[in-house]
């Protein structure tokens, strides 16, 4: 049996129940090891210690919001190409376009469905679907 490579995911979300739901969804992907961050500043702190393979972030957060975080990450050589998925309540098209223009790879609006997030993360990381 071949050993599956472990991947690191960072979930940046200031709402504890929402963060728990995203972590719950990601727990269905066996290869993923998930780390949680309370906001953008906490995310930058976590990034300094670990190399993440994918980042899922909210937009509306105190101190450093999700869009500023995307901008900071894209300016960092180590995170220039790391996939970033935005999960937000902001459903307007201009918000989506702005996030994608800054370098986000995908944009998902709340409320989310676990299957939707799982499928998107799998597709983004090129992971095969579960049987």
């Amino acid at each position: 049996m071949t050993e599956t490579k472990s991947l690191n995911a960072l979930v940046v979300e200031d709402s504890p129940p929402m963060r728990k739901m995203i972590v719950f969804a990601l727990s269905r992907i066996r290869q993923l090891k998930v780390v949680e961050a309370d906001d953008g500043v906490d995310a930058l702190r976590r990034i300094a210690g670990t190399k993440f393979d994918i980042i899922l972030t909210d937009i509306n957060m105190p101190i450093l919001d999700g869009l500023k975080l995307v901008k900071r990450l894209r300016a960092d050589d180590a995170y220039r190409d790391v996939p970033i998925i935005i999960i937000t309540t902001e459903g307007a098209d201009e918000d989506r376009q702005r996030a994608l223009a800054l370098g986000a790879n995908a944009y998902v609006t709340k409320p989310i469905q676990a299957q939707q997030v799982i499928a998107l993360v799998r597709e983004t990381l090129g992971l095969p679907g579960e049987p």
């Binding site: 929402m18 739901m21 969804a25 459903g91 409320p111 299957q115």
Partner: protein
């Protein structure tokens, strides 16, 4: 070539008879050889003919065999297609079942997380924050007002509003009238089968109840642009919010006042002693 010239009896040459004898022997030996060669040739031709005949008959039998094999393979193919169709149908059914289970799993997780958040909330502000996060993030409700009960004044007063200014909302007198009276009349946590208290600008009025005691109300006024309507799973989550947030608000209130008791006692003691 045998010569038939006359033979002198004095000569040492063989006699005519001997030469005739020799001639005949040679003639018959050659004839025998010729016949043997004919027989061999005949045998060779016969075996060749048999080989040709066999060759001529092989394609027909081979064709027959191949035809039988094709028919057999076609029959197998039909069976495999039938099985494949059945497997696809079953697989589709399993997929649908799996999707339904995943959706239910997600729903149960949302309910579990919501209940846990309410149980962990120790202040009114934490309860209100949890209500806001659940309605906004889990249900896509972008416009709502949370009212709390002032028992002394017998009113519901606006405490927090999401998506608008709380100052735009006014107090509601108790006992309520109209659609709200119907909602509050049950004196128990809201159930999806119960009245919704809807009106032109209100989608649903959710009482926040602790046991039979009304502690507040959430007036749901609008969705986020991406949310169109409440689904069955959403209603189940609203049932949790109605009951657990009501209990949490009352617990937070009791906790806040319990903390005041020692302080009040200390003040009284200091006043008496002092």
């Amino acid at each position: 070539m045998l010569s038939l010239s006359p033979v002198n009896g004095d000569d040492q040459q063989p006699s005519l008879q001997a030469r005739t004898q020799a001639f005949l022997q040679d003639f018959f030996a050659k004839g025998q050889q010729f016949v043997r060669e004919l027989i061999e040739e005949n045998d060779r031709l016969r075996s060749q003919d048999a080989a040709y005949s066999a060759l001529r008959s092989t394609p027909a039998s081979l064709m027959m065999k191949l035809k039988q094999q094709i028919e057999h393979l076609e029959a197998e193919c039909v069976e495999i297609r039938r099985l494949a169709g059945s497997v696809t149908q079953q697989s589709g059914s399993y997929r649908a079942q799996l999707d339904a289970l995943e959706a239910e799993h997600h729903q149960l997780a949302a309910m579990h997380v919501t209940a846990r958040q309410f149980h962990g909330a120790t202040t009114i502000e934490e309860v209100i924050r949890t209500v806001t996060e659940v309605l906004l993030n889990f249900l896509g409700i972008g416009l709502f007002t949370i009212y709390l009960v002032d028992e002394e004044r017998q009113i519901l007063f606006p405490f927090h509003r999401e998506g608008g200014d709380v100052e735009d909302r006014v107090e509601v007198k108790l006992p309520a009238e109209g659609a709200l009276a119907e909602v509050l009349g049950a004196q128990r946590p809201w159930r999806a089968s119960g009245p919704r208290g809807s009106s032109s600008d209100v989608i649903l009025q959710l009482p926040l109840v602790s046991g039979t005691r009304l502690v507040g109300l959430i007036r749901i006024e609008g969705f986020l642009p991406q949310k169109l309507a409440l689904e069955d799973g959403d209603l189940a989550l609203l049932e949790i919010v109605s009951e657990h947030s009501g209990i949490s608000i009352e617990s937070a209130w009791i906790r806040a006042h319990a903390e005041e008791v020692p302080f009040a006692r200390r003040l009284l003691e200091e006043f008496v002693v002092g």
